[in-house]
């Protein structure tokens, strides 16, 4: 069993699982019908990517756990998603700001993974890039539109950015797992993605007339599983409930 590879795949899959779940909470209550469709579409893509990442994680682990087993039968400390993904939806602005920050990182990451030495990872990344390109275009457009919209929408988007900013840094903090991935040519060094991220972010925020917080403090503990926020546990009680309540059933 390749432990760092398993960890890495869980990080990718848990990001998409947890964020996909959050986005799916919007079902039927978006500000306009087109947004209902777009949010459902984004959630659907992310859940599809989860099936691929966690499916591969299960194969790599070799203990007979499939994607569903990993998604529905692990507890909070086993989840490896970035803290950003588990943050609550808040208002539509906060949801779209979270999406924009994640999508911008995600797209850069996936483009790098498309050149992975691991063919299966490269193939998953290549498929995901197509979907996430659209997610990023849309979330960036929405952040720009609402940032540079009315006084109220601007205020709400700035508040969302200020609130979520401390969860961005974690995406770029490397550890032993990342070192092992870099060594094997499987994945890039997270820190190496920062410049491209900042450039894209700065350009969009300028157009959105939003101000990046000066303080670069970063909460961490999601991708290592060391310390999630309180929000994840509540999400899992809902997400995993049926599987946990009826463990002998198949669905």
């Amino acid at each position: 069993m390749n432990t760092p590879l398993f960890e890495f795949l869980c990080r990718m899959g848990d990001n998409t699982l947890v964020l996909g779940h959050r986005v799916s909470e919007w079902c039927g209550v978006a500000p306009v019908l087109e947004e209902d469709i777009a949010l459902a579409n984004t959630a659907l893509d992310l859940i599809g990517q989860t099936q691929l990442w966690l499916g591969m994680a299960g194969e790599v682990e070799g203990k007979g756990r499939d994607a569903d087993k990993l998604a529905f039968h692990r507890d909070v400390w086993d989840f490896r998603n970035a803290l950003l993904c588990e943050q609550p939806n808040g208002d539509f602005g906060q949801t779209m700001m979270r999406q924009f920050l994640f999508d911008t990182w995600h797209l850069i990451m996936l483009k790098a993974l498309a050149d992975s030495s691991n063919d299966q990872i490269a193939a998953i990344a290549e498929k995901s890039v197509k979907e996430v390109t659209y997610h990023q275009e849309r979330s960036a457009d929405t952040v720009i539109g609402l940032g540079d919209g009315t006084e109220e929408s601007h205020m709400r988007m700035q508040r969302a950015l200020d609130k979520l900013w401390p969860f961005v840094g974690e995406l770029f903090i490397g550890d032993d797992v990342d070192d092992a991935m870099v060594e094997q040519g499987i994945a890039p060094d997270p820190a190496a993605l920062r410049t491209r991220f900042d450039n894209q972010l700065d350009a969009a925020l300028a157009e959105a007339t939003l101000t990046k917080p000066a303080d670069d403090f970063a909460h961490k503990g999601g991708k290592t599983g060391a310390r999630h926020t309180e929000h994840l546990g509540h999400m899992l009680t809902q997400m995993q409930w049926l599987q946990r309540a009826y463990p002998d059933a198949s669905w």
Partner: protein
């Protein structure tokens, strides 16, 4: 059927000889199987009736997201979650085509939305029932989408072009929805004891409301007679209900589930299933706003609309700024 109790002119169907030349030409075109397009002449009653019908259908798709959205976050596997998301996304899409079809008749989506939110326009009674277990996702697909298809397949031939074309696309997706619902029911009916219990309970709760979807008997309704003459209603409510029972009863048997109606049996003489009428008092209660979920559904839609106001205003303001910047640059 997602449109119920649609009022027509209420004046009864005129004969061709009673019609003015425009109306006569219009009716003859319909009688010959032709399509009416947005710019064609049409009687005011036809236009109003269609707006009510298409609007109610669109609203049903929108409100219909809620009982299923209730289970997206609790879907038991990743695949089920993905399928349910795809289904709800389709429904929002159906709402969108239908609002577009209605807009060709001279109303705006905002007008229709206002009438939904104020309670002036209705949506199908079925969406005022709660979804209480995962088996309800199966029952909704199997029974609710199954009943909707009964009405929507013939509407592909309806006289109004944009409505007929929207219905072609919608029907393709609805049949996928129904199949996925039946697939959930099969899994549940053949599953553990608890799952079988959930499946039977879902059928017990949704059988009557599904039969009500077709509306009360309209054999003597002047509204229905006019709608049928205009080919915006293709079959009577009783015909469609019978067809639905004939299709569904053997499927329940195949699943090993019991339809909650002791009289529901194949009648060798007629070749159709006999069945008991659903509780029409309950139906009228639901229509009056007293269904189990009427209040929550309308509150949820109103909250979504109110909470989204700043978003809509923000995006419009941005679009206006961009337009004026573009004009200034030219």
């Amino acid at each position: 059927m997602y449109a119920q109790m649609i009022k027509s002119t209420g004046q009864g169907v005129k004969s061709l000889d009673e019609m003015e030349p425009d109306e006569r030409a219009f009716q003859e075109r319909i009688n010959a199987g032709g399509k009416i397009e947005p710019k064609d002449w049409m009687p005011e009653g036809y236009r109003k009736n269609l707006i009510r019908q298409i609007g109610q259908h669109a609203h049903s798709e929108i409100v219909g997201q809620l009982p299923e959205g209730n289970w997206i976050t609790r879907a038991p596997t990743l695949e089920r979650k993905a399928i349910l998301l795809a289904k709800v996304q389709d429904e929002a899409g159906h709402g969108l085509y239908l609002y577009c079809a209605a807009e060709t008749l001279g109303v705006t989506r905002d007008d229709l939305t206002r009438d939904l939110l104020s309670g002036k326009m209705k949506y199908s009674s079925i969406f005022n029932y709660p979804t209480l277990t995962w088996a309800d996702m199966g029952a909704v697909g199997w029974l609710v989408d199954g009943a909707a298809i009964m009405n929507q397949v013939p509407l592909q031939r309806t006289s109004y072009g944009p409505y007929a074309r929207a219905m072609v696309r919608i029907c393709k997706e609805e049949s996928f929805h129904q199949r996925q619902g039946f697939d959930i029911m099969m899994k549940m009916a053949n599953g553990t004891e608890a799952q079988r219990k959930m499946a039977q309970d879902a059928l017990n709760r949704f059988w009557g409301p599904a039969l009500m979807m077709f509306g009360p008997s309209d054999a003597d309704s002047v509204h229905s007679a006019q709608s049928m003459a205009w080919k915006i209603k293709m079959n009577s409510n009783d015909e469609l209900r019978q067809k639905f029972v004939d299709q569904t009863a053997p499927q329940a048997e195949y699943l090993g589930l019991t339809i909650p109606d002791k009289t529901c049996k194949l009648n060798a003489e007629t070749g159709h299933y006999d069945f008991a009428q659903p509780d029409w008092d309950e139906f009228f209660d639901v229509l009056r706003g007293n269904g189990p979920c009427n209040t929550e559904r309308l509150e949820a839609r109103n909250k979504a609309w109110d909470d989204g106001r700043w978003v809509r205003e923000g995006l419009l303001a941005h679009a206006a700024k961009k337009r004026s910047a573009k004009l200034a640059a030219e």
